[in-house]
Amino acid sequence: MEINEDLKAARDIVQAILKSKKIIRMYPANNPIYVKTLEDSYARFKDYFDYREELVFKIKQNEINWDAEPVYVNPEKEDNLALFFFKDGLRELTFKRGLSSEEMEEFLKIISMDFEREVVDDDIVTLLWERDFQSIQYIADDAMLADEDNYQDRAIQEVEEHTNSPDNILKAYQDAFDEQDVVGDTSIVPLSDVDLQQLMQMLDQEGHGKTEKLVDLLFELPYLSETRADYEELTTFFMSAAEFIMQRGDIAIMNSMLSRLSGLISEPHIDEEIKNYFRRVISYAGNSSIIKLLGELLDSGQEIEDKVVEEYVKYLDKNAIPPFMNILGELESIHARKVVIDALIFLGPKDITNLAKGLNDPRWFVVRNIIYIFRKIADKRAVEFLLRTVRHADIRVRKEVIRALGELGGGGVFQTLRECLEDQDMQIRSASLRALGTVASEAAKRIIMDKIADKAFKDVDFEEKKEYFEILSKWKDREIFAFLVDMLKRKSFLFGSAKMDEIRACSAYALGLLGNKDAIPVLTKTKGDSSKLVREFSFTAIKRLEHGQ
């Protein structure tokens, strides 16, 4: 290969590196563009190494050279590959024949990292060092590591000022003949297999339990703290620890920490002012960033015992409600959402008003979840917030809120439920009817009876009529019995008789559901009714009453 061809090949490789750097940042590793770009880059390296042993790039601030020829020049500060390497002290980069595609990809991934971000604690040299590539070597200038220019010269000069006095050395020499012989009184015991086994055990354990240890040490600090500033500091350490623990997904350690803090809070001899610091930590343990981390953890598919999360939630205060509501809409897994919903069911009663803010969430499913949470909390104070949601744009939310109103009951819900019985949507009417059935109060019964008694009721769809009677049959009292018998006995008129027969048939159906055998004589009569529908429903009702079906 000629020099010019080599130069071109080196330039091509730099261009391939630049392109790969961009692509790796933009696409996931399984994307065809990513795969193709890396294959192309590797092909360039392979071509080069067909004829050469190594590829050496010298790095200057704005220039990358190959064999003293510039293969990349960029005077700009942004997106400057030369400067990117140079600023971390990288001065030479060598790729050797035998470079594997895996090594190349690893290298490209390293240089594609976003080093500007705070979370990356390593510079490019450290990452290359840690990776310890066999076919990629580098030379880094470590002069930048010294904090003071010429420190070495100064320190050496200083130490050399204490020059040895020839007299002292010769005195030592003379004394050596006079002094008693003392030959190293430290005996070196050779290492044994047992030592190595012990060491292996020690190394196996190394790395485990560091977080627990840190928490233990933090709990030593209250006893070593004296001033308010000490406690302030300790509070921030506990807070950072809480964040770190959740980042690591060590919820059990978090629970242990919160439990110990709670223990301190309940200690009678600890000053209230100090306890307030611990309370702040507990409150912080449920803040938005920590709960967000919990959400990521729950969504990650990592196996986490529900009871561990439940225990964690028990330590939290009402401030954790908004963060939990925030992640509710972001979680992807059903199980994760269930865990969060359970958390809110536990926390919600601590601040109903705050929980109710979730009803304003723009995402319908979040609102429905919050309504579900209110249902589970079963606190009647929730009704006033829920009533505002009845006109929600999404029918799924409306159905859920109507159900909730039914379960919560109370005087405030009737007006709304009555209105909902007139709703244009059949599902809402049905939900509202069922909600009234759930309330099961006299007032609810009256609303349903009035509705059935209303003239317009005959025009209601048959299935809906049937549902009304079915709900009404839940009130198993004399009044309903009499009401149903009355309805069943009503005469049909020529005009609209079919609609009326539907009501009578539904009455027969409801009498069957009611379970009162006193209805059998009436039903026996209507079993021979001219209306086929009434006959059939009467027959079924009698059977139900006789056989308890």
């Binding site: 040299v125 066999q134 130490v159 050399e160 204490h162 002292n168 030959v183 297999d193």
Partner: protein, 467 residues
């Protein structure tokens, strides 16, 4: 070769060295017809032939304290540590530097090598014996052990010095930055420690030599770096990975960070501390923990560093300070730092009794503390690392020469390399380094240590010789 193949080769190479060691050890007990030895030889032959078929040639070479196979340095692995040490020692004894296997070999070839190896141990000229006996074994070449050429180490020495002083300067900068509330660059700290790890892996003795010089004005910064170097070296002996060594070096570098809170008038007090002053000194582990936790957001390294800063004076038996309310199992890193910290502090001025101890004296005091203040196992590894006569020990030789230990010998701990500073006629000289393992034609050691002296008693500045 891809990285997977390389890993495989490295693993096979380690196993090969181990198997050679097993064969050579067994051959010292049994003759080559013994069933156990024959089975070990068969296994070794299979391993060699498998590697030869992949690599065409298999060159095993001893350079310094490390084995290389086909130019790849084979890292120590804990499980084979004793066998590796045995190999290094036996190769050195016979001045055998390399063994090259070319083409497929047979059990008989190995048996011939074993015989030559065993015979060499009874010979005045061990390598010549091996070479002679191996003349007709075509597939195995042997080479003599190359001596370390002093001149070649000049550039290395320069690099080692640069690494050391960069580290001290950086540490000084860190402390100043923390004091003035500036942000500390952890990326730089890692680079500093990585350089030290590299130097320990390649030039351990030179960097350890730098820690023996104690006459600097800025004790605190030098002490932090010295402890970091000593712990990295010890960590390497313990079989830690490069990554773990970096962590260990980092936590050691910051172990005394709490001392920056101690008022200078206490820290630099020329006389002994009062009880009140001791109470202040004893707070530095707690201050250290706090300083580290304030340095940056929590991560694994922050936590490890904070633990070590808190625990490094607690003692193995928890008799130290600070006193914890809950029983604490002292962390491995803390136990390692504790040993290195005590050693460097005892051999330096301005701490404890303010009179520095000679390295060997410090070791003997520490030996009494092993099992109580110090972890006995960690200390055992430490003594095996620094030797009976650590670097900087002033020694009188039986040749009437006075010298300073400049390099310890892991295999023969009482036979270090010594820099002669006064010759047998009583004249001062500088720079002649002798190896106490050297023997004369009668197979007797040319030089042995007769006694040790305290260099501090004579105000001997080691920098003049070791820098």
């Amino acid at each position: 070769m891809d990285s997977k193949q390389e890993r495989e080769l490295h693993k096979n190479a380690k196993e090969l060295i181990n198997q050679i060691s097993v064969v050579l050890r067994t051959s010292q007990i049994h003759d080559t017809n013994n069933v156990a030895l024959a089975s070990s030889i068969s296994r070794l032959v299979a391993m060699i032939n498998s590697l030869v078929s992949q690599e065409n040639i298999l060159a095993l070479e001893l350079r310094g304290e490390f084995f290389y196979i086909n130019e790849y340095r084979i890292r120590y692995s804990l499980e084979y540590l004793l066998n590796f040490d045995f190999m290094v020692r036996e190769f050195k004894k016979r001045e055998l530097g390399n063994v090259t296997f070319k083409g497929q070999i047979r059990s008989d070839d190995i048996k011939r090598f074993i015989k030559a190896f065993v015979d060499a141990s009874f010979s005045q000229e061990p390598f010549s014996t091996i070479q002679e006996e191996m003349t007709n074994v075509r597939n195995i070449d042997v080479g003599v052990l190359k001596k370390v050429v002093e001149d070649d180490s000049l550039d290395v020495r320069k690099m080692v010095k640069k690494t050391y002083f960069n580290a001290v300067s950086f540490t000084q900068g860190v402390i100043n930055k923390i004091r003035s509330g500036e942000k500390v660059n952890i990326k730089k700290a890692k680079r500093v420690v990585e350089s030290m790890v590299d130097q320990i892996l390649e030039e351990e003795q030179l960097l350890l030599g730098m820690t023996a010089i104690k006459d600097y004005d800025e004790y605190t910064y030098h002490h932090s770096v010295n402890v970091s170097i000593l712990t990295i070296a010890l960590g390497q002996r313990l079989g830690m990975s490069r990554r773990m060594l970096t962590d260990l070096g980092m936590v050691s570098l910051f172990h005394d960070i709490g001392k920056m809170e101690i008022p200078n008038e206490v820290l630099n007090k020329p006389s002994n501390f009062t009880d009140d002053e001791w109470n202040i000194i004893r707070k530095h582990p707690v201050w250290g923990l706090k300083a580290i936790l304030k340095l940056k957001r929590f991560d694994d390294l922050t936590i490890k560093s904070a633990i070590v800063a808190f625990e490094h004076h607690m003692n193995f038996d928890l008799t130290g300070y600070p006193k914890a309310r809950k029983k604490i199992n002292i962390d491995l890193y803390s136990r390692i730092v504790s040993v290195a910290d005590q050693y460097d502090a005892m051999t330096s001025a301005r701490v404890y009794s303010r009179t520095p101890l000679s390295p060997d004296k410090a070791l003997s005091i520490m030996m009494e503390r092993a099992g109580t203040q110090l972890d006995p196992l960690v200390f055992k590894f430490f003594t095996n690392m620094v030797g009976v006569y650590p670097i900087g020990t002033l020694v009188m030789l039986d040749t009437r020469e006075l010298g300073l230990v400049c390099e310890s010998n892991q295999l023969f701990p009482n036979r270090p390399r010594v820099m002669i500073i006064v010759n047998e006629t009583g004249s001062r000289i500088k720079g002649t380094i002798v190896d106490l393992t050297e023997k004369n034609e009668k197979d007797q050691h040319i030089r042995s240590i007769r006694k040790t002296l305290d260099p501090n008693k004579y105000s001997i500045n080691l920098a003049e010789y070791l820098l």
